[in-house]
């Protein structure tokens, strides 16, 4: 049952009843700090929020939800009175707005429309919530078409297979989610809305950012990953500094602890025209990075051959 959350200035039992009749689960909390706590730890499927509640806090909450919790497709409807229509819409990440004295049929129609739009947009990875391959390809191709000086970073986890063998898939999923969080936060910090993070699948991720920021971002992803990874390891393995696990032939082997490798492909002076060229170059660089033990990144510094 989809959950809809109301954050309003005053109680509106009529709205609650309206939504409950439609079979939606409604949560409404009128104490702002608790409400925000709850929304950030258990996000709803749709949020209706009143601007006048606290313009500053509402904005902060929306930014947190949309950009750092990778919930770009969470529909948010803003309740706005007629005197406030001249909001800065570029800045305000909402999907729709309506006035506090909206009639019930219109309110319902807008809620259903918002749900439908969210469903159409989703090609997100179910595990991490990050945009999937269609969005990745579209985003990068779009930047190439404009000839922007961007860098594309291919991130993958080293020794993910032995990690899964040792601790099981559930913990493997946990570490992928943690990596997704780190990528999102770092790219957001240094590139703002000039950045993008996607999940290709399995233990492969990609990020896109302005070229001058690429190395800083890669280094920070590495630092943060190495800092967080001990939370996911058992004490004995941490002490040994490696796992003992079986290889494909069933022999007992020592494997290093998980680390990340990042291959960065720069698009200098519009050198690449198609996404396919980028992934081919990335594959070559990856081979080198993977040979270096521990977490590392490598930026392709080769000059164009023409």
């Amino acid at each position: 049952m989809p959950k809809i959350c109301l954050l309003l200035k005053e109680k509106r039992p009529a709205w609650v009843e309206l939504f409950e009749k439609e079979g939606l689960e409604v949560c409404c909390d009128y104490r702002l700090p608790e409400a925000i706590d709850n929304i950030l730890s258990q996000p709803p499927d749709l949020l209706i929020i009143e601007y006048e509640l606290s313009p500053e806090l509402v904005y902060d909450l929306l930014i947190a939800l949309k950009t750092t919790l990778y919930l770009p497709f969470l529909p948010v409807l803003l309740v706005l009175s007629a005197t406030e229509f001249q909001l800065d819409w570029e800045r305000y990440p909402v999907d729709d707005f309506f006035s506090p004295d909206i009639l019930p049929p219109e309110l319902l129609a807008r809620v259903h429309l918002a749900f439908a739009r969210a469903r159409r947009l989703a090609d997100n990875n179910p595990l991490t919530g990050l945009p999937g391959n269609t969005s990745i390809l579209k985003y990068i191709q779009d930047k190439l078409d404009k000839g922007e000086e961007i860098a594309i970073g291919y991130v993958d986890l080293d020794n993910f297979k032995p990690f899964n063998d040792r601790y099981g898939f559930a913990r493997g999923d946990e570490i992928l989610r943690a990596l997704a969080r780190i990528l999102t936060n770092v790219v957001r910090t240094y590139a703002g809305d000039q950045g993008f993070v996607g999940h290709i699948g399995g233990d492969d991720f990609v990020f896109v950012c302005p070229l001058p920021k690429a190395e800083k971002i890669a280094q920070e992803i590495i630092d943060h990953f190495d800092q967080v990874v001990p939370n996911f390891l058992d004490e004995e393995d941490l002490l040994k500094g490696c796992f003992i696990s079986e290889d494909r032939q069933g022999r007992t082997c020592r494997f290093p602890l998980p680390s990340v490798s990042i291959a960065i492909v720069p698009n200098r002076q519009g050198r690449y025209k198609h996404y396919g060229e980028i992934s081919a170059v990335a594959a070559q660089i990856k081979k080198y990075v993977k040979q270096i033990p521990g977490s590392t990144y490598l930026l392709d510094r080769r000059k164009a051959k023409n």
């Binding site: 950030l40 806090l57 909450l61 750092t68 989610r177 969080r181 936060n185 800092q227 939370n231 004490e235």
Partner: protein, 285 residues
């Protein structure tokens, strides 16, 4: 007493957020308002406050993020939650409307125990030193809960300590039918905090009950005693509890180790004094 315990647990289940000291929050709000503030600077302040630390850990270990019971340090939590979420958490933190003079003492006690635990963990060459310090910071969270949620009982406990010369812990048992270790445990389990933090919080006064994290629990137990003996902060009563034999054996320390550690601790506590003085100044100015 059983009915009383049930009633307390019922209230704990409804508990949404704990208040913290107003000056800590105003200091953080100032930091956050400054564009040049880094996540690291914010972490440094959060790590000195037991309530905000528990709040951040509760959030990062909530089911939504998909790695419950894993994250035990503030620095990891900040990396995973991101600046915007931390910012929102701090801006919506609730504060004590009336800060009492004992409150600061309780905060100082927790800070002191965090410092001593960290130093002990370092001396014993444990891998997870930051986490042990976090356990030290949170160890008396149950007392904050009593102070904030059951102020009436809290007053009764303090009165009993003063009039009957009981330890705080004995007085808690008489008034509430349970004590701060159990209350803290009840909450941090509900919040999905990792077992390595839960055991020291639950068992720092009954180390024999520790299962998986004996060393960590024993460290917090010893750190608590050292800090009380040094008279740093306020643990609720003026008496120093006895050292449990088991804890001492698990750690394998001797007198000489302690002589080596105390100067290090002194230095660290002096640094912390500057922090608490600043907080105090902000609070009562």
């Amino acid at each position: 007493m059983e009915a009383q315990k049930r009633e307390i647990k019922r209230k704990l289940r409804q508990l949404q957020s704990l208040p913290t000291l107003p000056p800590v929050v105003s200091r953080l709000t100032k930091l956050i308002g400054d564009e040049n503030t880094t996540a690291l600077q914010i972490a440094e302040v959060i790590e000195k406050d037991q309530v905000l630390t528990s709040k951040v850990l509760k959030m990062v270990n909530s089911a939504f993020y998909g790695f419950p019971k894993r994250i035990s340090t503030v620095s990891s939590a900040i990396v995973l939650l991101g600046f915007n979420v931390i910012r929102t958490l701090v801006l919506t933190a609730s504060i004590f409307e009336m800060m009492q003079s004992e409150d600061l003492g309780l905060w100082e006690h927790s800070l002191g125990v965090a410092a001593a635990s960290g130093i002990l963990a370092q001396h014993l060459e444990l891998k997870n030193q930051e986490e042990v310090a976090t356990a030290g910071l949170l160890h008396d969270l149950g007392k904050v809960v009593i102070r904030a949620e059951f102020p009436h009982f809290y007053k009764q406990i303090l009165r009993l300590v003063e009039q009957e010369k009981l330890s705080f812990l004995e007085a808690e048992k008489q008034i509430l039918g349970m004590y701060h270790g159990e209350i803290g445990e009840f909450l941090v389990r509900r919040w999905n905090l990792p077992e390595r933090l839960v055991e020291p919080i639950a068992f720092h006064h009954e180390v024999e009950k520790a299962r998986k994290y004996k060393k960590e629990t024993a460290i917090i137990h010893l750190a608590d005693i050292i800090i009380r003996a040094l008279g740093y902060g306020n643990g609720g009563d003026p008496w120093v509890p006895g050292l449990q034999d088991k804890a001492w054996r698990w750690l394998g320390l001797d007198r000489k180790d302690l002589e080596e550690l105390l100067p290090l601790l002194d230095e660290r506590l002096l640094e912390l004094r500057f922090f608490t003085l600043e907080i105090q100044g902000l609070g009562f100015a």
